[in-house]
Symmetry: C2
Subunit: 351 residues, 2 copies
């Protein structure tokens, strides 16, 4: 009998304790153990059954490593083209990918709210398993806590991951130089808009979908073609604007982008106009900003466009000598306008 | 100006946004960046200022590694002799220590509730920094999310850590054999009782204090003396009972402990009797169960007792041929009684 088939209740057990998370599932006793053995482990890689140990013992990495973590508190838990489970895998392993590392091992820590339906947990865990297999990362250690009703919003997930750094690693934003070209790997603002539309039930058709996905293939494509990459960053919270502002600070130059070159899906633009949001400030979860050496932009775009998820990759900007504004946007056919740094909370809880 | 001195408000800013966490602190824009730069980083190791990168790039470990994670949702956040900050460091690095690893690098992920006073966050972060320096682990990567008021209980913390495995590593509970001796490294049930007494404001005097602390020195002391250790486990959620039951399942033998030999502080025993709790089921956060080869128990206890935190280490039990009950307790002078496996939720949210 497994909790994964929670719809088929065993008549000898209280369905309340079988179908929903209770505080006892977080107390380290038999209930915790059964949750791990019957719900959590089967959803992940069956080879990873040593997850019940307190720490995973792993072989020596064959080179330098990258290490990163992210917590996920997205609302709603499920959104078009993703959910908190896939997001927790892609979000963390994308941080490794843009650092030049191949994901090896991941941890999965759940904070569950008392009363969470077991069916929801199972769906989320299945999504974690699928995404982890797609990325090729192994979930090797985990943790489960349960908080009383009202003290979390369904569930929160934390993932941390270790990856193997594969040279050459981009020098990073401090190495940006005048004339470097700026690329976006695909249409921007899809994730934030999809989550917002789902949360607010805006009823937009076609339904905006998230770009939630792995950046590893795109990074690998650039590496295979030996593109001279200076810096790569996934444009998550704060969107493309946050990345450009951080890079401008790091290199002490100005970054200029051309609005007409920036890919934005029609349904994304529609929602942004409706709500007064600038797509440049809205979060992505499978789209990156790439800076390459002068003249390398077109080859980089061609390499990316061979992948279905990056078919709309585009050359969008350039690094310039320092001006008054550190980030400027050529808006339409007019003059360059400074781009504000994201400050407030236009879109809370999108990851 | 730093947020760390939040009591001295800068008159040109709204004190509301300076003194308390707002949703904007979690959105990846300027407010997030300032929180990281002005509150989080200064509390941790000043050498770790590259925390603003998405992933930490680290040198190749010199051998096999251990990797572990834990989330912390303890209530209340502060309790006698510890808080959620020190707990999040010791809890995770203790998992490495009992796996035979020396902690190297740690991640720190915060889920903050909107409205959390900045002074509370600063106190917790200072505690994280102190504990990390004590253990010798470097906080190299992190994440901050903010959830709306009512969707977390102040703050939750996740830590994950990577450690270097140092041979010899104990073979683990499957290797337990008849005649092996069982040791407790100190008085049990202190953490669970201290948190419970603080949460319920029981007003017990002397105030029960947590054992929240590092197990690394104890594990190192056993290694230095070349004690033939079979298995070590920190007795956290589910207490000593959960460890013994897990070990009994793994080795298919019975574990017998003698109640009179088990160290329990008077104030702990008092609270347990008041509330009908068995100290064997109550969580510890700086106390471990150790199994050693036959005859090695006294040397192990002597090695541990040289450390102030393990002065009351005691030889408490033995591994026996399999009986009907997998774990038995010699209660007082009477006969051996089976020890229940912890199941329910006697003490929710103690870690």
């Amino acid at each position: 009998m497994t909790f994964a088939t929670a719809g088929i209740a065993c008549p000898t057990m209280h369905s309340s304790s079988q179908d929903r998370i209770t505080l006892a599932h977080g107390e380290g006793g038999r209930q915790s153990r059964r949750l791990i053995a019957e719900v959590i482990l089967p959803a992940l890689n069956p080879a990873d059954q040593h997850l019940t140990e307190d720490a995973a013992c792993l072989p020596q990495p064959t080179g330098p490593i990258a290490f990163t973590t992210d917590s996920f508190v997205v609302s709603p838990i499920f959104f078009p083209a993703g959910d908190i489970g896939s997001l927790s895998v892609f979000g963390t392993t994308n941080d490794l990918a843009v650092a030049g590392a191949v994901p090896l091992w991941m941890s999965l820590a759940l904070v569950l709210e008392e009363g969470l339906p077991m069916s929801i947990l199972s769906r989320v865990l299945a999504s974690v398993g699928r995404a982890a297999r797609e990325v090729g990362v192994r979930v090797v250690t985990g943790d489960t806590k349960v908080v009383p009703k009202g003290m979390a919003d369904g569930l929160y997930i934390n993932t941390a991951a270790v990856g193997l750094i594969r040279p050459p690693v981009p020098a990073g934003p401090t190495a940006l130089a005048v004339g470097d070209e700026l690329i976006l790997s695909g249409p921007i603002a899809r994730h934030g808009v999809a989550v917002l539309a789902a949360r607010e039930q805006l009823g937009i058709l076609p339904e905006p979908t998230s770009d939630c996905g792995s950046l590893l293939p795109g990074v690998e494509a650039l590496r295979r073609r030996s593109i001279p990459v200076r810096a790569i960053r996934d444009a998550t919270r704060g969107g493309v604007s946050a990345v450009l502002h951080e890079w401008a600070r790091d290199c002490r130059l100005s970054l200029s982008i051309n609005e007409l070159s920036i890919p934005v899906a029609d349904e994304t633009r529609g929602v942004c106009e409706l709500l007064g949001l600038d797509p440049l400030h809205v979060a992505n979860e499978g789209t990156m900003v790439i800076a390459v050496a002068p003249g390398a932009g077109e080859a980089a775009v061609a390499a990316l466009q061979e992948l279905p998820q990056h078919r709309q990759a585009a050359l969008c900007g350039v690094v310039q000598v320092r001006q008054l504004a550190s980030v400027v946007v050529q808006r339409g056919l007019g003059r360059a306008i400074p781009l504000d740094e994201p400050q407030g909370a236009p879109l809370p809880r999108i990851c």
